[in-house]
Subunit: 110 residues, 2 copies
DNA sequence: TATAAATGAAACCAAACGGTTTCCAAAAAA
DNA sequence: TTTTTTGGAAACCGTTTGGTTTCATTTATA
């Protein structure tokens, strides 16, 4: 029962789970509503939802016979922060420097 | 031989690969130099490097008997952009709104 | 109350993953 | 010219992943 606290990077590595995140970011849906957006089976979607809840990106709330799934994407800040650590790598200024180093310096300087 | 053009989200899902990215973001290293930072075997590291090259985050350059691995992290922009799509979810203002909706509205409004 | 809807849970499966050890080839150094 | 260094490649292995089908249970609805 102990929440495994799964890694958020691993959770978002699957394209289906990223799609689910996109869906739930717009509105809360029950399991079948989520599954309706995919060709895979409902149990498969349920497993994806469970993985997303294990890392806190989704919370579920049972009401009657339905399980409502709600996005809680604060955990994506970790991903954003990590990627932004390397922001310099995709800035135009650095691209220019990179080109300069690659093309204009003699090989011996590597 | 055909470059599979692996998904960058999947590539960064492994913590060892994220560490390799961190290493190579500071300086170019050959394979053994990279492997020295880990307890896993050199072939295991080589496999991680290959995965990183398949999605363009690392480029390799053979010189003599050495394989130099260089970070090219422009591909992380895709990750940053995707995560930032949901930036609203971790902003303090929205947190306050969320608390308001969760606690101050009657359940019937769900 | 009988039926339909929504979901959890279990058993199963093939493929991918992350790792290993072993061996070989090429390049550099002694 | 031996010997060492560097790393590619192959074979193998246990676990995880992402999917399935089937069945049981609970809750609404006719």
């Amino acid at each position: 029962m102990n929440q495994v606290r799964r890694d958020v990077f691993q959770a978002i590595s699957d394209p289906t789970r990223r799609e689910i995140i996109g869906l739930l970011s717009r509105r809360t849906l029950n399991l079948n509503n989520v599954a309706d957006h995919f060709t895979i089976s409902r149990p498969a979607v349920a497993k994806h939802i469970r993985i997303l809840t294990e890392c806190g990106l989704v919370t579920v709330q049972t009401r009657g016979r339905e399980t409502f799934c709600q996005a809680d994407l604060k955990g994506l800040k970790e991903v954003s922060d990590w990627a932004n650590t390397y922001q310099q790598f995709w800035q135009d200024k650095l691209d220019a420097l990179e080109r300069f180093l690659d093309e204009d310096l003699p090989d011996e300087n590597l």
